[in-house]
Assembly symmetry: C2
Homo-oligomer: 449 residues x 2
Amino acid sequence: MPVDRTRILLDTIKRLLRRGAAIHLHKIVNKTHAADLAVVFRFLTLYEQETLFDLVHTVEHKAMLFSELEEEILVKLIEDMPAEKIAEILAQMPSDDVADLLGKLSDDRAKALLDLMTKEESEELEELLRYDEQTAGGIMLPDFIALKEETTARETIEALQKEYIDVEMPFYLYVVDDHGRLVGVISLRQLVVVPPETRLKSIMATDVVSVHTNTDQEEVARIVARYNVLAVPVVDESSKLVGIVTVDDVIDIIREEATEDFLKMAGAGEGLVESQSVFKSTRIRLPWLLASWFGGVIAFLIIGHFERGLKNFVYLTAFIPIIMGMGGNIGTQSSTIVVRGLATGQLNLKQIWEVMFKELAIGFLLGFFYGLLIGFIAHVRYDPWSGVTVGLAVISSMTIAAMVGSLVPMVFARINVDPAVATGPFVTTSIDILSVFFYFQIATVLLHL
Amino acid sequence: MPVDRTRILLDTIKRLLRRGAAIHLHKIVNKTHAADLAVVFRFLTLYEQETLFDLVHTVEHKAMLFSELEEEILVKLIEDMPAEKIAEILAQMPSDDVADLLGKLSDDRAKALLDLMTKEESEELEELLRYDEQTAGGIMLPDFIALKEETTARETIEALQKEYIDVEMPFYLYVVDDHGRLVGVISLRQLVVVPPETRLKSIMATDVVSVHTNTDQEEVARIVARYNVLAVPVVDESSKLVGIVTVDDVIDIIREEATEDFLKMAGAGEGLVESQSVFKSTRIRLPWLLASWFGGVIAFLIIGHFERGLKNFVYLTAFIPIIMGMGGNIGTQSSTIVVRGLATGQLNLKQIWEVMFKELAIGFLLGFFYGLLIGFIAHVRYDPWSGVTVGLAVISSMTIAAMVGSLVPMVFARINVDPAVATGPFVTTSIDILSVFFYFQIATVLLHL
């Protein structure tokens, strides 16, 4: 549903809720896709959410809505719901979504829900809950189709009609040996076009791209994106096939990781949760600003050091904003390019010197251009030596900033610190300090500040 | 292939290229996935690329490599290749990839290649080239499976084995009426589990999510992500089914759009192309810095205006970096949250006032905290009124910055200007100016500057 149609749906539902028009609401709710309802839920109060949820007719639709709702909303929604009712809905959901939800609940609540499930279900879930949430094991679906090499195409189709009727994404069929180890893959598409007596062995592809249960989810996403597959099989330490990660989950990961990087670089937390309270947001954003505060204090000390001399050169202080601003902005350009390049794999740590020298050259060229421009103003407004001082300060600030901005994220990546987190505060702070420092050093030499 | 294995592959290939070990290279190249080769190509010279490419054995492998290579690399690689050889490879590629490539070539070259294709192929491509590259029409595959309502499951499977053997992603089968208009969809999975004589009409889903040829690719990506589908059908003005957009292309779009937004916000161009020359990069990054230059000049004029008074208050200038820095950083936090929220659909323009007031509150709280901290330093080092002045300046700078940072992207989105492009320069520049302005205004009132 396009964005404006979602907005119309939201307006309609809100109006009907205000009017208490249960019959109309019932009709709309039950013919709306769970993904669209989930968007609408974001803009409703808890009470309105509960009203709407009770109108959802089938337990399957409820299960789909559970899968689509944002975690924070879902956790609040089920807070007062009886465990039996929740368990009934969970039974209809894909196990990876159930595991995610259980991981967010208190241990007692999660245990109560697990107790209400069949033994098979609860064991499967406990298995999933063992893995780190950010790894292939934590995001995989434990339902997949695994067959033996000797199985024929006809038998496979029969199995699809009986045993595997509940498998969510049956587009790949995996072939395993007697120990459950992954040996091949064929697509459903191949299966329907071969003669019924063909054995899987003779049509399967054996160079299967797979991931381990402990592979990081970002790496899983990169693999799915690189090889254009709809699902990637997950194997454990003994190469046993234990699950699959499907492309729809990969899409969510790619979006979340990009959002995370955006926010980390700006020092604004890791998750974009608009339902966070003012105080929680304040607390998340405070520490990053501390780095910038620290840089500011050092800049203050540097300028303070020249306080006496500055009495005769007060006009020089008017150039502080432009020198710092130009440095800060070109530094942000450089670090953004590098952080994003590393995240998408378009930049490689092998290129560290190449990238740094290139950025250095760009910083110098842009510094030269803007240095001339600003130096000229200082020359006209004050005197030639002031012009030279300001111009050189801009050149040095921009050159250093481009170098620092590109080098810092690569160094952090090299020592396995997330470049998105570390780059923002570190780069901004050091550029602030370096810009001011070089400005006053140059002024001391040229103007005898 | 995990990142470190790609690195090993690259090192091996480079070593073999240096040694001219053609036989070894031939073996490695032909057993490596085209997606991995494409990564390796990024780090090779044109000459090395050509050497490697000539070693690729089958035309199918060459076609896959063409599809995977970055456009810039591919365009250079085929520059000196005979048209006949290229056409032979293009014939094996999905039409959407061919259309993308032709769109990047000179008109003459593209025409020469089209002339070498079959009439059917070239007509299909000319059709695709009509659409804007960034729309559903520009990214769709014109190969899909379309059947009539009366067709049986058995007939469908027969059709899959004959007519549709070349369709790239046959996981959904679309049902059309006599005019080719989309009326339903069934998945390949459903098809294999129903009795052979079942008519599509009785098993198809009729609430098909579809997009128009002119739907923006970002919207297409949002729809695929929201409804967890593997492909979305594309219809023209007369509701006729003309193509499908598959999930693997959607993944690329989501990544590219995120990269684009990152770079736009930092004013560093739109595409992360590390192969760009220093001069080209400089040219792309220059204009954005102009906005910041402009802001710096205004800040200069403001401070210059107080030059005479500042002689007695030189120490006040030492606080300029910290006041500007704190404002700039909190403004970046706010605008990043809003820009990303709008891009992912987690924020809605309806929430404009709610978000702004929340940011205002956060800005005030953080401003209060850091204002106290910095004001205290000024109080101890100089005098109480300087402390109050600096403290109030930090509070006003941070509050205004949070407000401007959140409001500006939403206003831009409202008037249909890409918030990612406009926000960066606009927000930074206005915060620089406002911070300095309020600082000196407060100093004038409290300290009689």
